[in-house]
């Protein structure tokens, strides 16, 4: 239908009419939002003014990718971020706040000071690990939606080991605590992994259900046998020998960034090595691309699935362990899901399921999260705006096709297919 329309209107006319349609829809939306024609019109004009820098930035990215200065794997998430920020402008304006001030505060709060950078890294640390967990399972063709539950079990495992084995020297206690957390996650993921590998039960359903079991099991433990004395549902604090070293406290004692970050980066490197430099990793990726062909080629598919799921769970469990050992120092009852596991999905998607991409995605999400407090303080913008921006980043990354259409030059068809090949391979 569109092709015929383009033929009739000619390339210029077609583009003009598409632009016209977008503007018309936007105006209509504004009028509906503001509930009046005049106020809707001023709102639309105002918002376009505020959007201008983002639109230009987006245009630069598109041009850079088209001209070959920028890889499309980098350009796509960048554009998704830009689009999300544009939607954020509309939302912030609708809340009658100043978008520039809000974004400025977001930036200042996350990267504008050492404290901000520290907090960005603190939030990014568990996200790197859960992002890796999701990405790893995805490379084997599975959606590990249970990362949230595995994270909770990792927290519980580490907290338990942390306060139970008091008196051990740090050199034993620290790795033992981390291991208990990792095992907690791995154990939790092994159930849906086993069911998928041996019985073909869909891992999405199972791992979601395992999330709830983790939530209520830990709730039961932390309000029962593992509860610290007092009225509050928390476990006792872990021993000092199980705490991850906060390495920037010599600058300022409040900097919470800790060795968990090193653990996370190390894990990213190991995941890369495992997936791309070993036979096992090759098999896992082959199963992810086509399990039937893999079986035909002599790969043990159920072993690969089981292994991928357990490693994925171990990564998510490590994430929980690191969070307890570095930040919380105890298990605090999670009344409802904290969201590191779920955000991990967004991070993995953003990072194209590649360890390096996951690290970058986690840093971005960490920065957004860390900056949100300052945004409230300075610009009076509610925290939910950040959630909206995060959601739209995911939305636009998922809606890759829209962005690819924008990036791809219609005249040079070969480039488009090359980019497609790259993504697929």
């Amino acid at each position: 239908m569109f092709a015929r329309l383009r033929q009739r209107l000619g390339p210029v006319g077609y583009r003009l009419s598409v632009a016209g349609a977008i503007i018309a829809v936007y105006l209509l939306l504004c009028v509906l939002l503001k509930g009046g024609f005049a106020s809707g019109l001023t709102f639309a004009l105002n918002s376009v003014l505020y959007m201008l820098p983002f639109i230009t930035f987006g245009a630069i990215v598109v041009i850079a990718v088209r001209e070959g200065y920028l890889k499309s794997q980098i350009g796509t998430p960048l554009l998704a971020l830009t689009f999300a920020l544009i939607v954020g402008v509309i939302t912030i304006l609708w809340a009658e706040k100043n978008p520039f001030k809000a974004y400025g505060a977001l930036l200042a709060g996350s990267l504008g000071s050492l404290q901000g950078i520290s907090e960005t890294l603190v939030t990014a640390t568990p996200l790197i690990l859960t992002g890796l967990a999701i990405a790893f399972a995805f490379r084997c063709g599975m959606f590990n939606i249970g990362a949230e539950g595995q994270f909770i079990m990792g927290q519980m495992g580490a907290a338990w080991a942390g306060f139970t084995f008091k008196g051990l020297p740090m050199i034993l206690h620290l790795p033992l605590t981390l291991l208990c957390g990792t095992m907690g996650g791995a154990l939790w993921a092994s159930v849906p992994g086993f069911l998928k590998a041996k019985r073909g039960v869909h891992e999405v359903i199972n791992s979601i259900m395992m999330n709830y079991i983790a939530l209520y099991l830990t709730h039961n433990l932390v309000t029962g046998v593992l509860m610290a004395p007092g009225q509050i549902p928390v476990t006792p604090a872990i021993a000092d020998s199980a705490k991850l070293f906060r390495f920037l406290t010599f600058i300022n004692p409040t900097f919470r960034v800790n060795l968990g970050l090193v653990v996370a980066l190390l894990a990213a490197w190991l995941v890369y090595l495992l997936l791309w430099k070993t036979t096992t990793g090759y098999e896992i990726r082959a199963v992810g691309i086509n399990p039937h062909a893999s079986r035909y080629a002599g790969i043990n598919v159920s072993k690969s699935i089981m292994l991928a799921m357990v490693i994925s769970g171990a990564l998510a469990g490590t994430s929980g362990a690191v969070h307890v050992m570095g930040i919380q120092h105890k298990f605090v009852d999670v009344f409802s899901f904290i969201g590191y596991g779920f955000d991990g999905m967004a991070v993995a998607l953003l990072g194209n399921n590649h360890p390096a991409g996951v690290v970058i995605g986690a840093l971005l999400f960490g920065a957004l999260s860390a900056g949100s407090s300052r945004m409230q303080l300075v610009a009076g913008v509610p925290k939910h705006i950040v959630t909206i921006i995060q959601a739209f980043i995911v939305f636009f990354v998922a809606a890759e096709l829209i962005i690819k259409k924008l990036i791809a030059r219609r005249e040079t068809k070969s480039e488009f297919t090359e980019a497609e090949k790259e993504v697929a391979g």
Binding site: T56, E67, V122, Q328
Partner: protein, 354 residues
């Protein structure tokens, strides 16, 4: 290819210019704002919400009411930060402390550790904590000289709504729906059971817990089950699950009892009364103490006598004066210390009014 690049460069230059202008504009905006925040001799109060955030129709909103009252009556500047995740409590409290607020509130017991850590680091700033006391590493009570811990006698307020329930029920079966089961929520259950038993020990009290605070469907399910077992009045202490409990009462044409704030507006014909937990009173009392230069560190417990808990003002819409007179009589006795309301459900099931 090279031709294309030439035609594109003006676009790039314009883009860079636009961004530069935007950056300048933004710095102008931000600078102007920073100048504003450092001025003035008025008192500055702030609070950090837990992950529930504003709009929870429960204690975060109630605490904010207290803060707004301080703004109106004490002429203070106020500020709220909503926490996006649990690990942000500490950071949020600290960024407020860095801004030089006079008193900073942490709302909810989940913030206990965060308030403790930050209060220790900023001895010159006053802090307030709702719903929790401090303990040291061995579990002994701890008082920080710059922090006020506000606790509520939820069991006393729940006792009163228990009395109202007992005097209203026709089937002699009443229900309790709690959120997650831990000592704080059990205080509501204990008070309610004791209140019912104070009127008639033969009335059966059904108890159930949803296991969460944010699931109206689960609340409705449990409430319908209790109505199915002949209950005709249900008291909930389950956060947003209670919306479902009230909905179930509306559907069945029976009674629900609200919690924390006056929930009568949710279903005027079916919300019998609400157990008010006035977090706002706690917050305002603390702010007022700073204003009057009469800050008292440590635990402040607000019960019936201090108007920290009670039944909702709209109760008289659905409850007759005779019953209210009886309730007020018992309330006076509790305030005077003549009746001691149990805090543990096991003790409450053996409660007898002398």
């Amino acid at each position: 290819m090279s031709n294309d690049k030439k035609t594109l460069s003006p676009i790039l230059i314009i883009a860079v210019l636009v961004i530069a202008v935007a950056a300048i504009l933004y710095f102008v905006f931000l600078r102007g704002d920073n100048a504003n925040t450092t001025s003035g001799e008025t008192l500055k109060f702030a609070m950090v919400t837990d992950v529930g955030g504003l709009g929870d129709q429960s204690f975060n909103d109630s605490a904010y009411e207290g803060l707004k009252k301080a703004e109106a009556e004490l002429g203070a500047e106020i500020q709220v930060i909503e926490s996006k995740a649990m690990d942000q409590y500490e950071t949020n409290l600290r960024s407020l402390a860095d801004q030089g607020f006079d008193m900073i509130w942490g709302v909810g017991f989940l913030m206990t550790d965060a308030v403790k850590n930050v209060a220790e680091q900023y001895p010159d700033i006053h802090f307030g904590l709702i719903d929790a006391a401090f303990t040291d590493a061995d579990g002994n009570p701890l008082v920080l000289p710059n922090t006020m811990n506000v606790l509520f006698k939820e069991h006393e307020g729940s006792f009163l709504v228990g009395v109202i329930a007992a005097l209203t029920t026709k089937t002699n079966v009443v229900g309790f729906v709690g959120g997650m089961q831990f000592p704080l929520i059990e205080k509501f259950e204990a008070g309610f059971i004791a209140g019912v038993r104070a009127i008639n020990p033969d009335i059966k009290v059904l108890s159930a817990y949803t296991g969460k605070f944010d699931d109206p469907a689960k609340g409705k399910e449990l409430a319908l089950a209790q109505f199915g077992q002949n209950a005709d009045v249900i008291f909930h202490a389950s956060g947003a699950c209670g919306i479902g409990v009230i909905e179930a009462a509306k559907e069945k044409g029976l009674w629900a009892i609200g919690v924390d704030s006056d929930q009568n507006h949710l279903a005027p014909e079916n919300v019998l009364t609400s157990m008010m937990k006035s977090v706002d009173v706690g917050v305002f009392t603390g702010c007022k103490a700073i204003y009057d230069d009469a800050f008292v560190p440590g635990i402040t417990t607000l019960g019936l006598a201090e108007a920290g808990v009670g039944y909702a003002p709209t109760t008289s819409n659905n409850v007759n004066a005779e019953i209210l007179a009886k309730v007020d009589e018992l309330a006076a006795k509790i305030s005077a210390g003549e009746i001691v309301v149990p805090e543990i459900p096991a003790e409450a099931s053996a409660f007898v009014l002398e």
